[in-house]
Amino acid sequence: MTMDTNERTSTELEQLATLNAMLARTSREEGGLIPALQTAQNLFGYVPHFALEHISTSLRIPMATVYGVVTFYHFFSMQPRGKYTIRICLGTACYVLGAQAVLDAFREQLDLEVGGTTPDQLFTLEAGRCFGACGLAPVIMVNDVIHQRVRPEAVAGLIQHYREAEQHEGELV
């Protein structure tokens, strides 16, 4: 596949080079497709279409197969995500301790459905499966950070916290 280099930012080109380096070490025979997609997801924050095509060509795996895999696993997203991915655990322990109300509060206050991203690209809302922190239920994860014993009343504060952190960051820049 030929890449249209003119249309890519230097960051994207760097990311693509990293992906290429990874792909060069990967082979289809050893089940390299999923690790390749994981690399792309981590690099770009989602799996952009050009990365799908790139992986398909490099590993010589038909596009239909690549697409079948990327849509099967919930960790892959083909849409850009917000800076903060908020995952509400809906595991049993969290559910019986009121995780649904927490999710509803996020849905309402971010005006998002599960899987959606705010227009300012700050938050993506997701429902997660057990994070293995059942002793602290209900828990949510914002990117890699676990927040424990979240009550619906605390949701507004949490959102505010990340909004302010973002504003602060903006001011520093």
């Binding site: 799908l52 038909p62 596009m63 239909a64 197969t65 697409y67 079948g68 849509t71 099967f72």
Partner: protein, 349 residues
């Protein structure tokens, strides 16, 4: 080896699945995802049977026969489960048998009928538009039962790698490349998927509305396009004197496969542009002439030219659309009468 099937002893081949063994002896086990060409995948769960000594019930399409295996293919509980599974499939889509192109030739319809299902028990989902983007195929997602036969055929028989399953769970669907409309995908429209589809999900666009399956006469023939000589069946509407659709013959060497030309290029026999009588161009205009005149004219001209410039200025082209005997005569004439080896054929592949 021997197995016991519903209390009767049968001799079967080792390595056969229960389903294959039963079929070879004419014992009916309903199934939707099995096809001799794509094999047993254990997806539809309609072919469930009971095997003595095995836990629970098993799918006949995936379990191989064993010496003295005792198998039951019909019981009230098997029937109950089959009925529920087929009911779930009927409810998951819109199988409008009244208008469906596949009516009368549909495996889902047959199984539902044999189980006595009259209507879906569960609320049906919203309708989705058909994919009409390609020249020859129609894909109606709501009639798809995700048996995977089309995908298996596409990836393992014709090796086009266009089809695959996408998404998961109840959202699982057959997708062309990355869920593209067929017309924009890498599909070459060989129609293998249509041939394998057990329902009306994948159908031939050109045949729509031109005749029900049982009204059409089946005529077996050889594909006229190239030297491979694929075997196929023409589905002919005698009253209209028209070929309605073409299918590949699965019992022949091509195992049902055809290419896009063979399967869909069948308009020429009834083309109005087809020559039906000899013509000679006189003063720049084609005129209808008698066979005698045409043959005399041709013979005279060939003789003149060969006499003047030698036999090697002559060459003959046979055709895939005439018989072997015709082609034989052409080369014999060229070599023995004219005296040149300039013989060729459109199917010299």
């Amino acid at each position: 080896m021997n197995i016991e099937l519903n209390g009767k002893i049968y001799e079967v081949e080792p390595g056969q699945t229960i389903l294959e063994a039963a079929r070879s002896h004419g014992v009916y086990i309903p199934t939707l995802c099995y096809h001799a060409k794509t094999g047993g995948v254990g997806k539809c769960r309609v072919c469930v049977v009971e095997v003595e000594g095995m836990r629970g019930i098993v799918t006949a399409c995936t379990v191989q026969v064993g010496e003295d295996m005792k198998i039951v293919t019909e019981s009230p509980s098997l029937r109950k489960h089959r009925k529920m599974v087929v009911d779930l499939l009927l409810s998951a889509g819109h199988h409008d048998c009244l208008s469906c192109a596949q009516c009368g030739n549909c495996e889902l319809q047959d199984v539902a009928y044999s189980l006595g299902l009259t209507h879906p028990s569960f609320p049906q989902p919203e309708r989705k538009p058909e994919d009409l983007s390609s020249e020859f195929l129609v894909f109606d997602e709501t009639k798809c039962i995700q048996c995977g036969r089309c995908i298996q055929g596409d990836n393992c028989t014709v090796i086009n790698d266009t089809l695959g399953f996408a998404y998961r769970g109840a959202d699982t669907k057959v997708s062309f490349d990355h869920d593209l409309p067929i017309g924009s995908s890498s599909c070459v429209q060989c129609g293998e998927c249509v041939q394998l589809c057990p329902t009306g999900a994948l159908t031939d666009k050109k045949a729509r509305g031109l005749g029900r399956n049982w009204e059409l006469e089946k005529v077996n023939t050889t594909c006229p396009y190239c030297g491979v000589g694929c075997q196929m069946t023409l589905h002919v509407d005698r009253k209209q004197n028209r070929i309605v659709r073409v299918t590949g013959r699965e019992d022949a060497f091509n195992e049902g496969m055809l290419c896009v030309k063979g399967r869909y290029g069948y308009d020429f026999p009834s083309s109005p542009k087809r020559l039906t009588h000899p013509m000679i161009r006189k003063n720049g205009v084609l005129e209808q002439v008698s066979w005698e005149e045409a043959l005399d004219y041709t013979a005279t001209r060939i003789k003149e030219i060969v006499d003047r410039d030698g036999p090697d200025v002559f060459s003959a082209f046979g055709s895939g659309r005439i018989t072997n005997e015709n082609n034989y005569a052409i080369q014999k004439f060229t070599r023995a009468v004219i005296g040149t080896n300039n013989v060729d054929h459109c199917a010299r592949t």
